[in-house]
Amino acid sequence: MESPTINDLNICIATENGTGSASANNILFKSIFKMGIPCSSKNMFPSNIQGLPTWYQVRACADGYMGRKDVIDVIVMFNDATAAKDIYRVRDGGIIIYDDSTPLQANLKRDGVQYLGVPANKLIQKIVPASPLRTKQRNMIYVGALAYLFGIEMKTIKEVLEDTFGKKPAVIESNLVCIEAGFNYMKEKGFTQSIARLMAIPNGNKGKIITEGNTACALGAVFGGVSVVCWYPITPSSSLAEAMEYYFPRLRKTKDGKATYAIIQSEDEIAAAGMVVGAGWAGARAMTSTSGPGLSLMNESIGLAYFTEIPSVFFIVQRGGPSTGLPTRTQQSDIQLMYYASHGDTRHIMLIPHDMKSCFDFARRSFDFAERFQTPVFVAIDLDLGMNLWSSNPLVLGKEPFDRGKVLTAEQLEQWEKQGKKFRRYFDMDGDGIPYRTLPGNMHRRAAYFTRGSGHDADARYSEDEKDYKETLDRLRRKLETAREYVPKPIIETSDGAKTGVICFGSSYDPVREARDRLRAAGLKTDHLLLRALPLGEESREFVAAHDRVYLVEQNRDGQMAAIFKEEWPELGSRIASVLIYDGLPAAAGEIVRQIKAHEAHLRTGAEEWREKKLIASI
């Protein structure tokens, strides 16, 4: 028998959606958090409103790893539809908690695990009168059971109930009764387990917040001064715009109660993008948020913004593609679509947050980048970052003034005239590829110009001249080159003498951190580069160049980010080996370790790899 770990536990709760388990899971997770234990949660929910399977994982991890863990210690098996598979989700030696109101069916029995029955249905029938609430509150039973088994403090649970339900003592009480019923039942039965114990860490999570990337992005945008938001509902990005709908009225009203923002649910994504382009053109900080299918639809308007040089911000919360794919699962598979979005030669600035703080910061600063570079800017996250709860240090508002970019007011134009300088909308006066602009409403007689997505010259006049055209394209490329130095630099961690590098971005960060620790323990030292933006910069090149082998971890099938590295630096391309996770589940350290070890065990040259590629997909 193993001796219990302390604060190292991975619980998976299998329920049916629409049964109110979200509330129970939330209480469970927050209670562990409130005990001061580092912890994270992952919600694997269906693209449906009621009746399909859903899994929620809560991971307590003394070492502070926040990524999903693929090894499950305990499963709460409350969904009959998936039970036959769920019993194999738990590791050998793990625990299965099930409702033994009726006896366990034969096909749900397996060896090597501990079954603990709690008659949730029976208990709940006693407590809650027949009502729609009953199904919902039945879930509180497992909260109590888990609390008893692993040592989650009832006092903390009560606190969380109070935090959650605020001024509704009846609700607090009714939930508490159910939780206690689960707790007491386990206690009465004298159930024990020996795999893990949760122990409060005083001040452990003190000062920490819990939030989702979508909320952090929304707050970043609100504090970043966005004033026109046009969006169309789509999972997993809806909650970003909805968080803005929630915070805007609280944060962005004038003294006389008027709005310093407009937030519009448009009729589709094409309209949302069009509105953003119109608003950006007219001078507002404007954004939209969407996911894969919406991004595909926005392609044409993104090209328009690129070629007419209109600041505009696109928050993309990635989900499982292609097509409708898995709308409620996570991927990083729209990297190439974002970077190259639209027809013709286009490349775009992308900001890639990896935690709650960078979600907030990058969202806030995205408008600075968009206005500085007069171009579409992507803020790229994914469902894992966007919709799961993450613990984080508090969000901090940077003190920098907004960068509104090269906008000329009527007064400045007057100055320019005096200095004999001429305002030319698309002229590269500073050699950085970025021209000056004026905003509609500017009353200077030289302010007005004509914007068009068709060929134009430096004075914004219609032109089909091949030289004008090439000049525009070259300048746009120059702008991108300027951006390389400007966008958030990667964060690099080196350890002495490591010959192997690992690169990742976004929600892979925590799993990769954990994987690297495990690899180090197994004898493989690695350096790390956390990529935070595109276009790529010199630091990334140097990092690849400095290592014999670089593992690029990403959550898609085709190694999309690796392709961008290879395009930039073909001579370094063969050092890059892709670690690819694309089953829709949040990345887990275990799989990363597995792939890297497999690769190390069987090092291949580029050409061999190419020949093998054809087989890889079938493995």
Partner: protein, 342 residues
């Protein structure tokens, strides 16, 4: 310059011109541009406060050919309505005029166009309606009449979308139809549209002399002229002119616009109340059944608030707000942090 006529803000009609047109000689679109110039001049609107918007098509090129001193945005095909909505939100003090084609509006742009009207976004939106795709060389558009013949001889087998009908149905608050060749009617209708706050949709029949001016076309210059069916004569009286008009009792009707300007409708043989939606639609159906183009101010709804008003926007244009108003105080973030600790 000396002696040239100027308007109330001291501008000549020339000051409202644009770059030389690149339309075909005789194209209806050019005539409409001339009416646009006339309307802005007559209404003494400062061109620097105007934004010109369009999609893609011959028609959509025309904003370059009027109001040189205004900002212009020739967006992508069918999306002017969305772009205009965004611009309106960013700066509701700008005076937006949109020019589109029947392909741009009624084919690819139909969905977005409808929703713009549903929102009653403030704009003067002209559809330069020639029943074909001019710029792509003469294919049928969605306003081509059933039975109309294409230059190559092909016959259209689907009924036309009636811009005025769909505009009324979808909630536009000022809906008119006119003819490119009738500046006398079109200019005052345009002035009225500019004075109106909300979605003003002008379906202007504008023959394409290059691709749709032949025998068999129901949008040829000749055919259109022969089938015009004006409801009334239209006069526009700007708000600053305190004229008391002597109305012929029972034949003239006055319509007051949001800025105090007035449109006077002089009856032409029939009773017509542009504020009655059902009547307006019935009149359109009747005219369509007879193969006629009903022209004039077909529908007007002064009661609905324009889109930005519904949004409760602050008076300063959003585009003009500074960091002081756009960025909440740091303490407010602290408060939110505290909430997120729960």
């Amino acid at each position: 310059m000396a002696g040239e006529k100027v308007n109330r803000i001291n501008l000549t009609e020339k000051d409202y011109q644009g770059a030389p047109s690149t339309m075909c000689r005789g194209c209806g679109h050019d005539a409409i541009s001339a009416s646009v110039i006339r309307a802005f001049y007559e209404s003494s609107i400062d061109p620097r406060k105007v934004v010109k918007l369009s999609g893609i098509g011959c028609s959509s090129k025309t904003p370059a050919y009027f109001l040189n001193q205004s900002f212009g945005f020739n967006a992508v095909h069918g999306r002017m309505s969305a772009v205009a909505t965004g611009a309106n939100l960013a700066n509701h003090t700008l005076i937006p005029i949109g020019v589109s084609g029947d392909g741009d509006t009624a084919a690819i742009g139909l969905g977005n166009f409808c929703h713009m009207m549903r929102r009653n976004v403030n704009i003067t939106y002209i559809v330069e309606n020639n029943g074909v795709y001019g710029l792509t060389k003469g294919q049928f558009s969605a306003t081509a009449d059933k039975g109309s013949v294409m230059k190559g001889g092909k016959i259209n087998d689907i009924p036309a979308i009636d811009i005025a009908e769909i505009a009324i149905t979808m909630g536009a608050t000022y809906v008119a139809r006119s003819f490119s060749g009738d500046r006398k009617q079109l200019a005052p209708i345009l002035q009225g549209a500019l004075a109106h706050r909300g979605a003003a949709i002008l379906d202007v029949i504008s023959p394409c002399v290059t691709f749709n001016n032949h025998e068999g076309s129901t949008k040829s210059l000749k055919y259109v002229k022969d089938h015009l069916d004006p409801i009334h004569d239209v006069d526009f009286i700007p708000h600053y002119e305190n004229i008391e008009v002597d109305y012929a009792e029972g034949t003239d009707q006055e319509v007051e616009l949001h800025d105090g300007s007035r449109i006077v409708l002089h009856k032409l043989g029939r009773d017509y109340d542009p504020s009655n939606k059902t009547q307006a639609l019935t009149a359109i159906h009747g005219a369509v059944a007879e193969g006629k183009f009903l022209t004039g101010l077909i529908y007007y709804d002064p009661t609905r608030a324009e889109f930005v008003v519904e949004q409760n926007l602050c008076d300063t244009p959003l585009a003009d707000l500074g960091q002081d108003l756009l960025q909440p105080a740091a303490e407010l973030l602290d408060k939110i942090n505290a909430e997120l600790m729960k």
